[in-house]
Subunit: 354 residues, 2 copies
């Protein structure tokens, strides 16, 4: 493997697109994924459908997976992590450690970090919502899994729910826990899930309690308006301060800030719209590769106005949610841009190949 | 010029990045811009600073401009439009028409459309805000020009204002006028401008009337929190239904939907946060090149979940706000991705060059 090869760390949507892109430009690509299968968090968390176009997630991921797995220039290492790293643009060296302990030394000219995010753990400092206390308090991810299986039920009874609500901004926009940022996608994902619940369980009432509905661009008409007008999801600008149990049902308490009145509503299922935090892989890889990270562990682009993918280290690029909260379009666009920049940087160094 | 060259239409942030990217990958690039200078709408509209990092817009644009103007593989045609177009991936032919009427025939293998957006015309069907009636009713763009000049005044008197407000969603999220989509950037731009006004005119009170503050991702803490806490901008969730004049001041009337009460507040300057519509160039170029467009004229990506830049015609890509409301990061990432895909598509056709 020559030093014109590109090492892509992470095999989610961003890593798959970055690997395919660099390989399509003629570079050899080493793709490293710690899980046993390509697809990243949308795969491992069991996503049902992607927000904007409502396409089944597995259908989309399978296209991206196959493009990489069948590409003659991409070598995929599953269940593998980067265990050491050194060098500079044009001559990096990495040690890959497989699940069975086998170590492989590889050299590469450039690196694309696509190590993604984790969902915020709702047990962390937000005990008022009782995620670990009440079986019927779930997260966006738990809901997504049930929706993928086309079987949305009350976990405690296995019965279809009559009343469901989403609580937005769990782990986001919250100075108390140190996550001041907005996680960008939760409004869209919750609204998409709310529509899916209404389609699966037509007599279930669905509420979304929010601060601002951040349905930017075409999410507004394609997801938000659809949910309101076609699926009759109830959007309530309000704050839920407490979840308790009364009999066998949950009760949410809080304030409807549009009507300026306290509310207390029984619910069968409460879905916590958990935000994005950097994955353990993002935190560890960023540190090992020596790129600038913010206080959370997200990788900081070096020059945000003109370049969304360069890190603080020449030859190392970042794509997707490793750089902060991103939607799928962000991940795919950044990955394409990172592939372009990585290959261009290597060809500038050896002009015979351009 | 061989058929491995790439034609980039539009010299704004997306077109500049696409041109530089394709050229950095070794392709010859023909960059066509109808204005007399590169930089696009942020240049011609006189933007002051970009939203997320508050860097002066001209400083950022000049770096992008120089990267293209000094690149040996990029040929720039200013004051030029595409007047005819034919062919297919690998062998497109275009006629370029310069301002003096000179016609030039060029061939190219792939095309990147980066023809951008226009600001919504607030005279169009929103007469209640009186943009063409009251001198002190201005738009985000008019405000940006004054902020670039570091001289924010009441247009009617030339004096610093004591009370200024922004009205969000003018031309966006509005079924009445057919623009159901959200324009994505206006919340961030208005909030950035509000902070800049507070810095220039410290005793001026600044209000932002909004439906939802769509400060996604890091805009939340870096722009929104800064405006609230450091610059003391007043955010009011409310609807302004009418602007009238009383004496020499404007009066806005409407409803504060958080406090559930009518409001009537005198203002020295009212800034309309006008949204994005496709530029005339986007509408015309999309039609001439035969790519799918939505009812507004925005160019529709062919497969949104996996590819943000492919159009309905193989070999023709789109980057930036020609494809819908986009922020600067979107434009730059899409442009990099489009450059990668255009060059990769051409090299797949002639494998000797990879």
């Amino acid at each position: 493997m020559s030093d014109e090869s590109v090492l892509v760390i992470g095999g989610g949507p961003a890593g798959l697109e970055a690997a395919r892109g660099a390989a399509d430009l003629g570079s050899e690509v080493i793709l490293v994924e710690q899980r046993a299968r390509l697809g990243g968090t949308p795969d491992s968390a069991g996503y049902s459908a992607f927000a904007l176009d409502h396409r089944p997630a597995q259908e989309v991921l399978e296209i991206a997976r196959q493009a990489v797995l069948t590409h003659p220039l991409v070598r995929v290492h599953l269940e593998t992590e980067v265990s050491s790293f050194a060098g500079e643009l044009g001559s990096f060296r990495a040690t890959l450690k497989a699940a069975d302990g086998t170590l492989t030394e590889v050299s590469c000219g450039a690196v694309i970090i696509a190590t993604g995010f984790d969902h915020f753990d709702p047990g962390r400092e937000t005990q008022s919502y009782g995620y670990y206390e009440f079986e019927d308090v779930i997260t966006l991810v738990d809901a997504e899994r049930m929706l993928q299986a086309k079987n949305f039920v009350r976990p405690s009874t296995g019965e279809p729910p009559k009343q469901v609500c989403f609580i937005q901004c769990v782990g986001s926009r919250d100075r108390r826990i140190g996550n001041e940022y907005c996680s960008k996608v939760c409004c869209g994902v919750a609204t998409k899930e709310a529509s899916e619940i209404r389609e699966l369980v037509p007599d279930c009432r669905v509420f979304i309690f929010y601060i601002d509905m951040r349905m930017y661009g075409f999410w507004e008409d394609r997801i938000y308006w659809k949910a309101q007008e076609q699926d009759h999801v109830n959007f309530v600008r309000g704050i839920v301060t407490e979840i308790t149990r009364r009999g066998d049902r949950l009760v949410i308490k809080g304030e409807d800030t549009t009507m300026n009145r306290p509310m207390e509503i029984p619910m069968d299922v409460v879905v916590l719209s958990v935000g994005m935090v950097p994955s353990e892989g993002t935190k560890a890889v960023g540190k090992m590769l020596g790129v600038a990270q913010d206080k959370h562990g997200f990788i900081v682009p070096s020059e945000s106005a003109l370049d969304t993918v360069a890190t603080s280290v020449p030859g190392i690029y970042v794509a997707g949610a490793a750089a902060g909260p991103k939607d799928l379009d962000d991940c795919v666009s950044m990955a394409g841009s990172a592939a372009m920049k990585a290959v261009a940087a290597l060809r500038r160094r050896s002009p015979v190949s351009v």
